[in-house]
């Protein structure tokens, strides 16, 4: 999965996860601190923590091969179940295949989990049958709490300032007397 608005990116405290225009969502291994916030934030369970290295890995869409070759998984798949290509082309193909199968599409077309996953499944049955989660198009509240709770420091600082102000007032009164 390489979501349009990746939830893992929001959860990462060190900005180690980047979304590229071309599609891939990458983890910068040098920046990763192994906090596993992304592991639990991702609704698809894509980033995997590696206890041996203490860091998180995920599919990087073979960015080092792509302009010239297909990703390794696509190339190696013996039955040709995986296809790789330009976004519009792929959507086109998915629609055609869906019509053939009279099935369902999970990914970029009808429902767009997290703004679209850049990974389209064409399925015979409903997605839930295959264990694909029903994900909304925006990030979950847990992750936004994780991301934005630091703003509570502002009211805390304001409260502290109010103390200082009333204390100062007290001090001034004390001096006047």
């Amino acid at each position: 999965m390489h979501c349009h608005d990746p939830e893992c990116k929001e959860a990462c405290p060190v900005n180690a996860i980047k979304k590229f225009e071309e599609g891939p969502v990458l983890i910068d291994v040098n920046r990763c601190i192994g906090c596993k916030f992304c592991v639990d934030a991702c609704p698809f369970d894509v980033p995997k923590f590696n206890p041996a290295t203490g860091k998180v890995d995920k599919c990087h869409m073979c960015f080092d091969r792509v302009p010239n070759k297909e990703p390794a998984c696509v190339q190696t798949c013996p039955t040709g179940a995986l296809l790789f290509g330009e976004r519009q082309t792929m959507i086109q193909k998915a629609m055609e295949r869906k019509a053939q199968l009279n099935g369902y599409i999970y990914g970029d077309v009808d429902n767009k989990p997290l703004g679209g996953t850049s990974f389209i499944y064409v399925l015979k049955e409903k997605p839930s049958v295959y264990g694909l989660p029903n994900v909304g198009s925006t990030i979950s509240p847990a992750t936004s709490v994780l991301r934005h709770s630091k703003w509570l420091l502002i009211p805390a600082a304001l409260g502290g300032l109010m103390y200082l102000a009333s204390w100062r007032q007290r001090r001034i009164k004390e001096k006047e007397e």
């Binding site: 103390y163 009333s166 204390w167 007290r170 009164k173």
Partner: protein, 393 residues
């Protein structure tokens, strides 16, 4: 009569005091050692609990929408503040080394300003205003203890003997004032009494009514300066500490302040006086004001090393001395408990097998001797100077 305003209670706390309220480590060490809390078992006498409540009161004042403190708590806290011997045992164990004695004194000031003072303390202050002593006895009787002795008064001299109210007026203590005079004369010191000695003002400080303290201080300072003294000798650690804290601001470095124990030790070292060695088992109760709060710890022991063959230490001595129960005007606030604490101390002296319990503080002497009588104890309580004077060669 001053009125109580819960919002104004503890308003005199400045920056350090307020911060210390919050910084308090909440370790509870002070609760364990407080002599008054051990006796009363009332939460409001425990130092840590008082700080907790005082912090809550201050917090309500500081908080932008805090509202006021409630009257009942203020009254309870003020009552607890006066149920304290100001011995500083809490300070001695405080991990932050915070000057708790100063805190209690400041808090008492505020309690006094809010009209929460103990009645006995108010009477004492009235007496001070009227007759310049805490017993409301005629001022011209102040030097009556010296009858029969040839005592220089109001002369120009290097050394001034500041007697203090207790020594001057209390019958039991008059012999020890005399003893001190004898020792100084025996050492060949050129000394004098003040013509118009008045109370040093420490009772006012302890009760919180510091406003009326200034007149007394000024009166004493002008008296001392007229004698041109270079050294002031105290028998009372209360006066001694008061001079060190308040008077030294006015007197500066010109005048040296010494306690009688320090003076006698220096005489012995210089060979000005000599002592016979007695075989009595003597023990020494460190007055809190002297040992803990001003640091005169070794001097009396040096003297005893030369005065007796068997000197025993009490448990809880030197820096960690346990209060006799008479400090900080606690006796005026709650006599029975104060004496109960003193009886414990007498019991400790008995356990150590002491025949004589000496102390270098008239207030401790009064409390301990009263408790010894009450307990019908074999231990004889006597003043430090008295013991030394008896052994003079």
């Amino acid at each position: 009569m001053k009125t109580m305003d819960p919002k104004k209670f503890l308003e005199n706390f400045g920056r350090p005091e307020t911060l210390w309220m919050y910084a308090c480590a909440r370790c509870g060490e002070c609760v364990d050692v407080c002599p008054v809390f051990k006796e009363t078992d009332d939460k409001y006498t425990a130092p840590g609990y008082k700080i907790k409540k005082m912090r809550a009161l201050i917090h309500k004042q500081l908080m932008p929408f805090g509202g006021g403190a409630d009257k009942e708590t203020v009254e309870k806290v003020a009552k607890g503040l006066y149920e304290c011997t100001l011995c500083g045992r809490c300070w001695s164990v405080c991990p932050y080394n915070y000057d708790l004695v100063d805190l209690w004194e400041k808090a008492r000031e505020s309690a006094f300003d809010n009209g929460l003072a103990v009645d006995a303390h108010l009477q004492m202050i009235d007496a001070l205003k009227a007759e310049n002593n805490i017993f409301k006895m005629a001022h011209d009787r102040r030097r009556k203890w010296a009858t029969g002795l040839d005592v220089p008064v109001g002369e120009k001299a290097d050394v001034v003997f500041f007697v203090g109210c207790l020594m001057s007026y209390r019958g039991q203590l008059k012999p020890s004032a005399k003893a001190m005079a004898t020792i100084m004369s025996a050492a060949g010191e050129k000394w004098t009494l003040l013509e118009n000695e008045v109370c040093c003002g420490v009772p006012m400080k302890f009760s919180g009514g510091v406003e009326s303290m200034k007149e007394l201080i000024e009166a004493n300072v002008s008296e001392i300066e007229s004698t041109g003294a270079k050294k002031i000798v105290f028998s009372c650690p209360g006066c001694y500490r008061m001079f060190k804290q308040e008077y030294s601001k006015l007197l500066g470095d010109r005048v040296q302040l010494v306690h009688s124990t320090e003076l006698i030790d220096s005489y012995l070292k210089a060979g000005k006086i000599k002592l016979r060695k007695s075989d009595q088992t003597i023990t020494y109760h460190d007055p809190c004001e002297l040992s803990r709060l001003t640091g005169v710890i070794e001097e009396p022991r040096n003297v005893f090393a030369k005065a007796t063959n068997s000197y025993v230490e009490l448990p809880g001595n030197k820096f960690n001395v346990e209060c006799c129960g008479g400090g900080g005007l606690y006796k005026a606030a709650d006599l029975d408990r104060s004496l109960a604490i003193a009886q414990k101390r007498i019991g400790q002296a008995e356990n150590r097998g002491a025949a004589t319990l000496t102390t270098a503080c008239p207030s401790c002497y009064m409390t301990l001797s009263q408790a010894a009588r009450q307990k019908k104890s074999e231990v004889k309580v006597s003043d430090f100077a008295e013991v030394v004077a008896q052994l003079l060669e």
